[in-house]
């Protein structure tokens, strides 16, 4: 390891460019990655503007005659609006619950030393590694049998899906927020306490505002997790509660596959999450850095 010598003020690194070998490697590698990343995205966009006959024949890079028809037709081929509403309800519900619960848990983990603290963090984090299929079969049976015994319809309900999804983002959210809270000086809490706040008041008035970027980041993460989940949605929903992740496959169970509508619908359901993610990714990077400090 080289010594971390503090350079004298006048001897700062000259703003030299990296050598040509580095610049060329950078150009070639990044061009390859950009092509690999963006060609499917381009195909998605261009195909969503094609008339049906274009996507039934050989592939072409450009639509023969660009049209917005797929964006109109997609709403009637499958009940897309209903799937959309279901996805919004489930994802918003799971996200809100997950973030609120994670804030409380992260506050407890970062500001208190209590019996069971370590057991809790280790258990919660390790559930992250378990295969979803392991919970799926028992959870399905539990929901079916609890429903049979009590008459409460869990299986197929949006509430059960919200409960399930909120636990998927919970471990990461708690871990990241705990890291974030650790980086907030305790004097701030104490100042609030002196001013007469209770511990919960200190959390709400001081910690939460000070860690807003972290909270934004876990909100994005929780929403993306719930919005994109497929496995549990494929089993736990029925016709009325079906979400987009399964509903979109309806375009291809017909005798014809309406690829242009599939692409249009995919694009429409993606734009909100992608735009939100790209706008807020800076917070996610800062959040990851803060979490890693732990």
């Amino acid at each position: 390891m080289p010594e971390t010598a503090a350079p004298a003020a006048g001897r700062r690194r000259a703003p030299t460019d990296p050598p040509a070998s580095f610049r060329w490697t950078r150009r070639i590698v990044l061009t390859f990655l950009a092509v690999f990343t963006l060609v499917p995205v381009y195909a998605m966009i261009s195909s969503s503007l094609k008339p049906l006959k274009d996507v039934q024949g050989a592939f072409h890079w450009l639509p023969s005659e660009p049209t917005l028809r797929p964006y109109v037709d997609m709403w009637s081929t499958v009940p897309l609006a209903r799937y959309f509403a279901n996805s919004v309800i489930v994802a918003v519900g799971a996200t809100a619950a997950s973030v609120v619960i994670a804030i409380g848990a992260a506050y407890a983990v970062s500001r208190y030393r209590f019996a069971g603290r370590r057991v809790f963090t280790v258990t919660v984090l390790s559930t992250q590694m378990f295969p979803g299929i392991l919970f799926l079969l028992p959870l399905f049976l539990i929901f079916v049998n609890v429903g049979n015994a009590t008459g409460i319809a869990l299986y197929g309900s949006r509430g059960a899906l919200i409960l399930t999804y909120l636990t998927f983002s919970l471990p990461f959210s708690i871990w990241m927020l705990a890291g974030y809270f650790e980086s907030i000086p305790r004097e701030l809490d104490e100042a609030a306490r002196v001013d007469g706040c209770g511990p919960v008041g200190a959390l709400l008035r001081v910690i939460v505002p000070a860690s807003l970027p972290g909270i934004v980041a876990v909100t994005v993460y929780a929403f993306m997790t719930a919005w994109g989940e497929v496995l549990f949605a494929s089993v736990m929903t029925n016709d009325q509660t079906r979400t987009l992740s399964i509903g979109l496959q309806g375009y291809s169970t017909q005798h014809e596959v309406y690829w242009n509508q599939v692409m249009a619908a995919s694009l429409v359901v993606s734009v909100p999450v992608v735009a939100g993610f790209l706008l807020l990714q800076r917070f996610l990077v800062t959040g990851l850095t803060a979490g890693a400090v732990k």
Binding site: V109, V124, T167
Partner: protein
Amino acid sequence: MTSANVSPGTTRAGGAAGGRRGRPGGPGAAGGAPTARARRPRRRLRLPPRLLPYLLLAPAVVAELVVHVVPIAVGVWMSFRDLTLFYIRDWAKAPGKGLGNYRIAVDFDAAIGKDLLGSFLVTVGVTVLAVGLSWLLGTAAAILMQERFRGRGLLRAAFLVPYALPVYAAVMTWGFLFQRDTGMVDHVLVDQLHLTGGDRPFWLIGGNSFWALLTVIVWRSWPFAFLVLMAGLQNVPRDLYEASALDGAGVWRQIRHITLPALRPVNQVLVLVLFLWTFNDFNTPFVLFGKAAPDGGDLVSLHIYQTSFITWNFGAGSAMSVLLLLFLLLVTAVYLIATSRRRTARA
């Protein structure tokens, strides 16, 4: 950066000075009187009753219990039961089966065990290649984009798009691109580059499905590696580079001797997370291939799902899930022990 002495006026005089911990990896003890605060006892918030932390944790604990802990316990119980179609709605009546379900799962001479083994091997192959490639691409991009250049922000946003897309939207798009007659992949390979000598390969059925699946998984997961490594690079102290530049080290030497070693702790977690995600991946093959995955793309989660919901034999499915979990626990434990030992050996 959080500075340690915010709002000195409002705190009690002499009461609280200095954060509980300095920033690890920060450039030394940054000023300040270091001796006085090192031994200060940990300040406990007095006012709340001892119950408060438990109260704050309760919702998280309940949710984890209901969705994860209890179902795992039930799943283990199910794996010892003859839980077939007849007992799905009334599971308490399912008769015990001892280790019977496990025996079926690992009987590699019979059809069920043989298929499970095949699916397991395919999963191992996909996982090793996908983790390696995702890590490689993510590292290359993160390091090459460490320095500012024109268009960096835009390119970074573009690279993150596959990760931000909902799985099903992304995978359905790839499903379209991999169509034999109407897809882009064969159009480029066969019609434009003439690489196959006129053959139009199938991608979503037969042996090629392995490569199709690998492509989609890498496309979706390398941006995650990129994102995490970008965050990791922000913690590498800049003065290390400046010092080594003064010593005459070029950019390639800096990458080898500063950047890559500094990323090692991040990599330890990243590789493990990528491994677990890929090995457990259900969404990608399920959306790409539909309900009947070809052998080349039959990842183990999807395989268990199909076995369970086609035969409605949840006992056997649970036994397979438990075996999968045991395997993952074993690999994770070995990995963590091996990587931590290497780290302590170096220190």
